[in-house]
Amino acid sequence: MSQEIVPARISRWLFTTNHKEIGILYTITSLFFFVAAGLLALTMRTQLSVPDNNLLSPELYNQFVTVHGLLMIFWVLSPFAFGFANYIIPLQIGARDLAFPRLNAMSYWFYLVSGAAMIMSFALGGAPDLGWTLYSPQTSFKFTPTIGLNVGAAGLILIVVSITMSSVNFLVTMFKMRAPGMKLKHMPVFPWAILVTIFMMLYAFPSFLAALLLLYVDRAFGTFYFSSIQGGALLWDNVFWFFGHPEVYIVLFPAIGLIADAISTYTRRPLYGSKYIIGSMVAAAIISFIVWGHHMFVTGIGLTSTKLYTVTTIAVSLPFDVMVIAMVESLVKARVRLKAAALFSLGAVALFVIGGITGVYLASVALDHALRGTYFVVAHFHYIMVGASIMGLIGGLYYWFPKMTGRMYDEGLAKIHFIASFIGFNILYFPMFLLLDMPRRIDTYAPNTGWATLNLMSTVGGFIFGLAQILLFVNLFASLRRGSPSGPNPWEAWTLEWSLPSPPPAHDFDTIPTIAEDGTYHFGNNPGYPNGSGYPNGSKIGNGIAYSHLEGQSPWPIVVAFSAFTFFLGITIGQPSNPSVPVTFQPFWPLVLDGAILGVIALYGYSKERFHVHEETNVESWPFRDVPNVKLGIWTFLGAEVIFFGVLIGAYFFVRTNSPTWPAVGSLFEVRSGFAMTLVLLTSSLTAIMALVSAKIGSRNGLMASLLATFGLGVSFLYIKANEWIFLGTHGVFSVANGLPATSYFITTGVHGVHVFAGMLMTLYLLVNTVKGRYLKGDYHAIEHFGLYWHFVDIVWVFLFPLFYLI
């Protein structure tokens, strides 16, 4: 067994960019948040165990409910799965790391600091207390004046940034870095599940980010998107649930992929209909973006929409039927080895069936009217989120623990853990199906409601489930030191990670494996597996590709994340906690400045750092064979930006078409001013493309002149824009608090202006390097990548100009 001796210095973990170590960090951190969210849940269950209980005040109860939900959804479920994805996916597809290791590290540190912000909100005047859906208008400053919500929103913004970086990284890795012969169709179900998940993340989370931004600006600057009649609750519902429903599948699919592969392993046979499972995931992912209205049946969205969403919601259940049938069919006449991971997987399938079927009830408008907002809904989504996702992911922890540590866990204790968890789970949540007249989120209830027995039962189940998890931690922690060596492939599994020693060496593969035409890997000497020729001897670290855990370290990802944390904390904690005070932006400037300065230093250090990424040639990269990794990453990021700006523009359309009147063309915004800014930006696009032409032909002077012109035009654009803002703000035309035309104008053009400013910083950086003689001839890629961003910013303005100045 290969086990490299590496110093257990803390700096190894702080500065690591190795995918396996980051995977371990994700897993441990998500388990920490799991415990935190679980303790909140147990306290809530204690509060509800008897009627008229006053263990928690109503305010604190609401905070616990909200933060429990937010932590579980954003800081536990997906990160738990992405701990595995980080560790396992490169091994399963035959890559040595993710495409952008430092970006991967940065994703993790953003995740960590975002969670810290959410938890800190308890100490800053009270955590968010509105439920995880953060419904408007309760989120307005008038109804929730605490800065805790601002800090919580900052935490959410930071984690969306983390998720977006992670999505781009995984997409590029999985499309561009598969081992030779590892065609997409040959990937196991788990990588497919992650691929579909990050596709949904990429397009769902920007909508949430835009919604959070609008919410934050409403709260910090007193704008009116969510506190006006024309926007308000319905606008929030739309942009939130456009993200929120795919999010359910985002947290579910990794577990389904994991369960599917585990079933295959423990039944020692190929998964029945694996391609149908994958196809069903793709179908469900697509449909998931057109079902969000079923969360809004009681908002008066109209009969046509109601019918549309009923049909799509019922339709989205069909792919899940296919998945379950395929998994069940895989078990028919199989000799299942009932290891802990198999038990958790099978248990998760059973619980998922219950959660799924009860979800179909809610697709019915009539039943939804009766059941919405009751504990029936709480039971339904916990059967999905905890029953399917958490149980499946715990199964994954048992499944891959030997691979990650090189040690076996105690199987007997793990089985007791499963039995206690399964029984505790059902005692906890099944009674909630029967509490279908009890409103969710109430902090207590009267004795004569008839809810006491079922609530007490639920609380007992909650403690059984919670205490059972102690067995998990005791087992894994003890096994780390005392577990017997696992060997490379204790489960006789067939996916590629099991071909490596446990734990795998830092560089993963001595030689990148080649996958046969039929998709088999030809490793292992286990009965029932063809072509067994013995495990590769992973102890051979050599042939020039090995590197240790201490190589590829970078201090900058954690510094960038910390600077962002400081900056966001600074702009959120200064808000006065007094509803009678008019809303004014009051950041805590020292923190804001510290964060900004540190951020600039960190980004500069990041860009100047010599960081080598091992890139293999001759890998599978369909369908993006001819697209370089960085370019694909930038286009993927721009795809997310399209959704982000699409939501901002959509919000503008929403409030505008809902408003009975709107200022006439030319009455507020000078058409000449907009025209001038448009010409300036269009010209800057021309100079940006001429910079690329100059770089390609090796003209340093041409490159410098073009970049200088681009920078100058950017300055001109912002100068005109700033003058317009100042004029509108100081000449009584309107203020930011003067209605939706101002709100939509300032927010949308402000966000665009920030993008222009970021582009100008990039131009400056390119200019400095151009002076040093870089980017000429074959070294032009940085200029091309900058251009892709700059032209995108130009395209956004091409739409903003007519929307705000001409119609």
Partner: protein, 103 residues
């Protein structure tokens, strides 16, 4: 065509269409519900003018993406990839529009 000339031609079209956008504003009908006449013969309602403006914006975006961002010369897989974002954003706007205006 020499790429520099192509870029200049695209720039000329972008500026020209922006000029058309600005001048179209002068055609706005005096009252909502009425129409303005183009060349004395073509009736243009407010909705038609807005559609023309957004159509011109779309055309300009297409030109920039195709030629300045080189999507026209990239593999079809990449341009399709980029289109997904647009489809998603359009989906969101379309369904919300149905909610608001189709009962």
């Amino acid at each position: 065509m020499n790429t520099t000339y192509l870029y200049l031609l695209v720039f000329a079209i972008l500026v020209g269409s922006t000029d058309i956008e600005v001048n179209i504003v002068s055609l706005y009908p005096s009252a909502l519900g009425s129409v303005a006449m183009l060349f004395g013969t073509i009736a243009l309602s407010y909705g038609v003018i807005v559609s023309i403006l957004l159509g011109l914006a779309g055309m300009k975006a297409l030109l920039i993406a195709s030629f300045y961002q080189h999507l026209k010369y990239e593999p079809r897989s990449l341009s399709s990839w980029v289109l997904i974002g647009l489809v998603m954003a359009s989906l969101l706007m379309s369904l919300v529009f149905i909610q608001l205006h189709v009962h």
